[in-house]
């Protein structure tokens, strides 16, 4: 009922954990993997990276703004952590990678022989020399995907930024580079100023906005990508209920990723999976038949 196949991965349900949320330790990944269709680990680069000073995350009424700055122990150490996960769980593990140049992506793949797939972070909006600095440039995006596809047979997902004039152009570049799917989207550039101290709240000044406020933006990106690309689209941004997830699936998402909703509940994914299940039991349908269904009615 809930099974989907995305980018060559068979998932028991279409609800994945988004990168960077509780994805740094095998223990939290394991807990979430009990219910998730797949988990994506925190983005990792070749070298250890401190990340930004606190405050690095801000919770507002309708959104989260974060500038964690891709804090990571580096590929070698992190591969040990993730290996532990892969030994204990059957849930597919997607390893998210960041890099400052296309060829760095290639060198990262080797560290994670146990990965079910790789997700390229071409979209973090606050890292100085990684993420969206590559992801706004069609040529670089294509190149990044190509170099990693050259060194691995595993599926490669390109995670896109909405901070571009036309996300479809970027999605097409990823497709041309050989991506097996695109993930739409990472956070939107945003910030906050504290009126009492009269300073930006985040130490990095600018951050990325996620959560409910992102939903309509992400949904539009999924809709447009679905219309123009051949490869599947994975939806991400502001999904916190089964209704949200279904909205994305109807708009063309083959699967969805859930991040900020864990602020409201550790059972975010469990709740969405259960909700979709109940809904489909009522309608007697299969989730995979609903992917993109709203385009026929539009």
């Amino acid at each position: 009922m809930l099974e989907v196949e995305v980018a060559g991965m068979k998932l028991r349900n279409p609800v994945m954990l988004a990168s960077g949320i509780l994805g740094s330790k095998h223990s939290s990944l394991l807990r979430i993997a009990e219910f998730a269709g797949a988990v994506v680990s925190k983005s990792v680069g070749v070298e250890r990276r401190e990340g930004y000073r606190n405050p690095a995350v801000l919770n507002r009424k309708c959104c989260i703004v974060n500038a964690v700055g891709l804090a990571s122990p580096g590929a070698e150490v992190f591969s040990g952590e993730l290996r532990e996960f892969s030994m204990k769980s059957k849930t597919p593990l997607v390893v998210s990678l960041f890099a400052s140049r296309p060829d760095e992506f290639a060198s990262l793949a080797d560290y994670f022989p146990f990965a079910s797939a790789f997700e390229l972070n071409l979209s973090c909006p606050h890292a100085e020399n990684a993420g969206m600095v590559l992801g706004v440039d069609e040529k670089l995006v294509k190149k990044c995907v190509q170099v990693i596809k050259d060194v691995t047979d595993k599926p490669v997902l390109a995670k896109l930024t909405p901070n571009v004039t036309d996300i479809v152009d970027i999605g097409r570049a990823a497709e041309e580079g050989g991506a097996d799917a695109v993930v739409a989207v990472n956070t939107v550039k945003a910030m906050a100023v504290d009126i009492f101290s009269r300073k930006p709240v985040l130490s990095n000044i600018r951050g990325g906005m996620s959560g409910k406020a992102l939903k309509g933006i992400a949904l539009r990106c999924v809709w447009d990508l679905y219309e123009e690309l051949e490869i599947p689209v994975i939806g991400c941004g502001g999904i916190s209920s089964w209704k949200d997830a279904l909205e994305f699936i109807l708009a063309g998402a083959s699967a969805v990723q859930v991040g900020s909703a864990f602020y409201y509940s550790y059972r975010a994914i469990e709740g969405i999976v259960r909700g979709l299940e109940e809904y489909l039991r009522l309608t007697g349908e299969k989730i995979k038949d609903l992917i993109g269904a709203a385009h026929e009615n539009a």
Binding site: G20, I21, L22, G23, S24, K25, S27, S28, L29, L30, R31, I32, K42, G51, R53, N54, P55, A56, V57, L58, N59, I64, N66, V68, A71, A192, D194, F196, S197, K199, V201, S203, G259, S260, F262, Y263, Y266
Partner: protein, 238 residues
């Protein structure tokens, strides 16, 4: 984030501890913490030591700066966050075991338990009499300069009366918590003890994953207070 203003400052200079009282009560419970944004410095997790005070010990740049705070200064607050201490049953005697600045959240718990008319023993272990912050009767000093000579766990063992129902609440440095944990485990009473743990925190709201401990539990949401049986020995060793 919202802002609170300091209305009273209490300095314990020899202990390098400061207690800040704010202009508003926080709707929190003993054991919960706030993310305190010290403008120009870092945002750090600090436990409530009462509904409107925080006690901070100098540990690094930010906490050292906090020692010099003045009345009227403004701070950003997110929270209170996290799971508070659970309260004892009427017949249970509570042992509050604190090491150093670990007295902060237990001081708040003590006040709450007293209000409720419960039987409480507070055991506070410090290095020397310089570091005593409250005049609780049961003080242990490592150097014997005041009260019991030894550490808080040793004093706890001496005072604990296992013939009647009891609960243990603990906060302090990792080695102290570990030795207390083993003692409680030996007594087979892990589910009657609660430990306030610390991990590096970024978000405080359960997203970033930096505070995750064994079992996939988040110190900022499922903690910082954990029941003994939710903790494994490894949690004290990281």
């Amino acid at each position: 984030m919202y802002c609170l203003r300091v209305v009273e400052v209490n300095r314990f200079e020899r202990a390098e501890v400061v207690s800040l009282k704010f202009d508003r009560k926080l709707r929190g419970h003993p054991g919960q913490f706030v993310m305190l944004n010290v403008f120009g410095f870092e945002e750090i997790p600090i436990s409530l030591s009462s509904p409107d005070t925080l006690m901070i010990k100098a540990a690094g740049e930010t906490t050292r700066y906090l020692q010099k705070v003045k009345k009227g200064d403004l701070f950003g607050i997110r929270g209170p966050f996290g799971r508070p201490f659970s309260l004892p049953a009427r017949e249970e005697k509570s042992y509050l075991v604190a090491g150093g600045i670990g007295i902060a959240p237990l001081n708040y718990l003590y006040a709450r338990l007293k209000e409720m008319g419960r039987d409480v023993v507070v055991i506070h272990g410090v290095r020397s009499s310089d570091e005593i912050l409250f005049d609780y009767p049961e003080i242990a000093t490592n150097d014997g300069s005041y009260g019991f000579k030894g550490n808080a766990v040793q004093l706890f063992k001496r005072l604990l009366d296992t013939s009647e129902p009891f609960r243990v609440y603990a906060c302090g440095p990792r080695p102290m918590l570990f030795s207390l944990y083993r003692e409680i485990k030996r007594l087979g009473a892990l589910e009657r003890a609660e430990f306030s743990l610390e991990r590096y925190m970024r978000c405080g709201i359960g997203l970033c994953g930096s505070c995750v401990k064994s079992g996939g539990l988040r110190v900022c949401v499922e903690g910082p207070v954990f029941r003994g049986d939710e903790i494994s020995e490894g949690d004290f060793l990281v």
